[in-house]
């Protein structure tokens, strides 16, 4: 058991740090959730990609560096510590790409991944529907067979990034007659500007259009944009949910950097002892999350699957993030209600943490049933 990095890993860290020091913009970019900010973040993806920093863990042929999980963790620590911008390509990179690596064709990988890596094509996820939130299997949007492809109809919602993104991916019901809701779903990619697609941006709590509703009316998708076998969408979507993606959804580097920023804010406000416990707990939480992830990455590299323990992860980071930002707002006092402070966007984002990627209630059910072995109840 050790926490020591190899010389090569340390060299990788030094290289990343140097690059970031030279390239990270001095002033924060405008919010990712605005048209102007989206464009600025897309340009930043291109800048990252130009030196192969946008997808370090991908194989070299698709624009990455073939970095392992350890190097990915190192990169993320340096990235967030440098105060670098949020990642507009995150949905594609962390949700779609792993599926393509596991279940896509070589043609799909060659076609989709390089433009994802550069930010030329930004992807939105299209999982949820109005009646299918936590209960994802109850999807109703249809994919109907047609010549050479499929016609998509229905409504998707809470599609993050979709207000400004180029393409999207999601599950569609291709065979509505099967008895169980998980059956007969197909995993497809589609163009957000295709005929029949209407994108209606939705403002989140602070009004910024962080997601959108998608209305699909006979949208044609060619067969080449089906991932895996038709009808196998659920299995395909889930099979990558339990792999390292559970680890990579939120990197420890983000929380380490946020906790350090909180400590700085606290110090700047005169180090009030009253908030000492909460600031310390944010630092400790970020450290715990870092080390927990190190341990999980080590197990993964030893060949163990990442299973239901990603539910521990999800609850922990989402609660940490929220507590950290609530502490910051409390330190800001009356200024805390303003949305133009450096903490507001993070706070609003943190409010969504316990909801998306499987609500924390669902995660606790999973922990109880799959990790503790408690009997399934009716919930």
């Amino acid at each position: 058991m050790d926490l020591a990095f190899t010389q090569e890993e340390e060299a990788f860290r030094a290289e990343a740090r140097a690059w970031l020091a030279a390239h990270v913009p001095d002033a924060p970019l405008p919010s990712l959730e605005t048209a102007e900010g989206f464009a600025a973040h897309r340009a930043w993806e291109a800048e990252l990609a130009a030196d192969r920093w946008s997808v370090v863990n991908w194989p070299v042929e698709y624009g990455g560096r073939g970095a392992d999980l350890i190097r990915w963790l190192i990169f993320e620590e340096e990235y967030w510590s440098a105060g670098a911008p949020g990642r507009v390509g995150q949905n594609g990179i962390s949700l779609l790409a792993p599926t393509l690596f596991d279940h896509g064709t070589e043609e799909q990988r060659e076609r989709v991944l390089p433009s994802m890596a550069t930010g030329e094509v930004v992807w939105a996820q299209a999982w949820s529907e109005p009646e299918a939130g936590s209960d994802l299997a109850s999807l109703r949007s249809r994919a109907r067979r047609t010549d050479g492809g499929w016609l998509l109809s229905g409504q998707k919602t809470w599609s993050s990034r979709a207000a400004f993104a180029d393409r999207a991916f999601g599950l569609f019901r291709s065979d509505p007659d099967l008895p169980r809701p998980h059956q007969g779903l197909t995993y497809l990619m589609f163009d957000l500007r295709a005929p029949g697609v209407t994108v209606r941006p939705i403002g989140r709590l602070d009004g910024k259009p962080a997601f959108a509703e998608l209305f699909l009316d006979e949208v044609f998708v060619p067969d080449k944009d089906v991932i895996g076998e038709p009808g196998q969408g659920w299995r395909i979507a889930m099979s990558t949910a339990d792999n390292e993606r559970g680890l990579m959804l939120r990197s420890p580097g983000r929380f380490l950097a946020a906790a350090e920023a909180l400590r700085a804010l606290w110090a700047e406000r005169g180090s009030p002892r009253r908030e000492e416990d909460r600031v310390a707990d944010a630092l400790i939480g970020a450290r715990a999350y870092q080390l927990f992830t190190h341990a999980a990455a080590s197990r993964f590299l030893d060949g163990d699957p990442i299973g239901a323990e990603s539910s521990l992860n999800k609850v922990f980071w989402s609660e940490l993030d929220l507590a950290l930002h609530e502490t910051a707002l409390d330190l800001l006092g009356e200024e805390g209600e303003f949305t133009d402070t450096p903490w507001s966007e993070g706070y609003v984002f943190s409010l969504a943490g316990p909801i998306y990627a499987g609500t924390n209630e669902i995660q606790r059910d999973i922990i109880a049933e799959r990790l503790l072995g408690l009997p399934k109840g009716r919930r």
Partner: protein, 386 residues
């Protein structure tokens, strides 16, 4: 001892609730948030007609006497319906003006506040709520800071287009006209400095004075907080201001507590209704025990904030009022977190009306005395033994 609202008070709450329910306050909030005050002004008049502002104004000025219990009753309903505007500030301004030694300002301004012809804003800090629409804008120079209490001063701005100044009789609501640029006061300090004596020009246009500073954006879009320009016309000074301001602050805090409780109650009601109809995994999510227990906790928090609120209204003890403020606001925020979590993504959207209450629950926590300040007041004692 009968620590219960009487029938009249309950009827008052019910009639306000009915009026506000019919008024479609969510649409009013959305107008207001865009700087369009027309529907809000209309609602303001109806709230005044219902007698709400009269409850902060003595009988000799056309009100019903300062009645904290009834004010608390009213502000619970105003919060329940997320009514926008300088409601708390108008109450506080009325109490402040009535507390001055000189009767002049009160005589001239209070009748219009009581009747709803004027709205007032009042600040002791750097920002004034809805300064763009308030007819009377008052600024107290930091009575709560370390400055000796006798140094407190009160500034007021003349109503626009009325060269005879703020003490002119009637002070009716002018509309559509722009205020003149306020005369700079040579002895006023910078607008940024804490403890500075500020004033803000009176405006009745439905958007901030062109060229003036825009409101600083609040998470609650209905809260339009304007930075105060320097300058202002001195209205009163000395210990009378400090004393009147202290009482005004108590009423402001009490009203904010009531508003927060109303916000929390509305969030709970809406969430209970939502979880009864929202189905996942083949059952209404309101039948899941984890959901039920979170809502039960919200109910407990709100129901124990309620007696603190009315107790504080009866005693007006600073510790009682502070306790009510922090407890009502924490209960409302806790309920907001629960409401958001149980609604899921739909609750996270600005377009869904729940957001109007969610964001207000957060913003009210720090308005008129944040949790830290209130808890410190509780510990400092000063009340009779509880």
């Amino acid at each position: 001892m009968r620590f219960l609202l009487d029938a009249e008070q309950r009827d008052f709450a019910a009639s306000l609730d009915a009026m506000l329910t019919a008024a479609d306050t969510a649409a009013v909030v959305r107008d207001w948030s865009r700087g369009d005050h027309a529907s809000g002004r209309a609602l303001w008049s109806r709230i005044a007609e219902a007698g709400v502002f009269s409850l902060a104004v003595g009988e000799k000025y056309g009100g019903m006497g300062v009645r904290p219990v009834e004010l608390a009753v009213a502000f619970v309903e105003l919060g329940r319906h997320a009514v926008p505007g300088p409601l708390v500030e108008t109450v506080a301004a009325a109490v402040l003006l009535a507390g001055l030694e000189e009767a002049g300002p009160a005589e001239r301004l209070l009748p219009a506040l009581a009747s709803g012809k004027s709205a007032a804003t009042l600040t002791t800090g750097r920002y004034a709520l809805d300064a763009d629409m308030a007819d009377v804008a008052l600024a107290v120079a930091d009575p709560c800071s370390g400055a000796p209490r006798s140094e407190a001063t009160l500034f007021v701005t003349p109503p626009p287009g009325r060269p005879d100044g703020p003490l002119a009789a009637g002070s009716p609501l002018a509309s559509g006209s722009r205020s003149p640029a306020p005369a700079a006061r040579p002895d006023s300090r910078s607008s940024a400095g804490p403890g500075a004596a500020h004033r803000t020009p009176l405006r009745t246009t439905s958007s901030p004075t062109p060229g003036g500073p825009p409101p600083r954006p609040s998470l609650d879009p209905a809260r339009r907080l304007f930075p105060l320009p320097s300058g202002g016309e001195l209205l009163a000074t000395g210990p009378q201001v400090s004393e009147a301001a202290a009482r005004a602050l108590l009423l402001a805090r009490l009203s904010t507590a009531a508003q927060a409780l109303g916000v929390g109650l509305a969030l709970l009601d809406r969430t209970v209704a939502y979880v009864e109809q929202r189905t996942q995994f083949g059952a209404p999510i309101g039948s899941f025990q984890a959901v039920k227990h979170r809502l039960a906790d919200a109910k407990i928090a709100l129901e124990f904030a309620r007696p603190l609120l009315f107790g504080a209204a009866l005693t007006l003890g600073p510790a009682d009022v502070a306790a009510a403020k922090v407890t009502a606001c924490e209960a409302a925020y806790r309920t907001a977190r629960t409401a958001l979590q149980l609604h899921g993504a739909i609750g996270y959207t600005a377009e869904y009306d729940l957001s109007l209450w969610l964001t207000k629950a957060r913003a009210l926590r720090t308005a008129w005395g944040g949790p830290r300040e209130c808890r410190a007041l509780v510990l400092s004692g000063g009340d009779r033994r509880w």
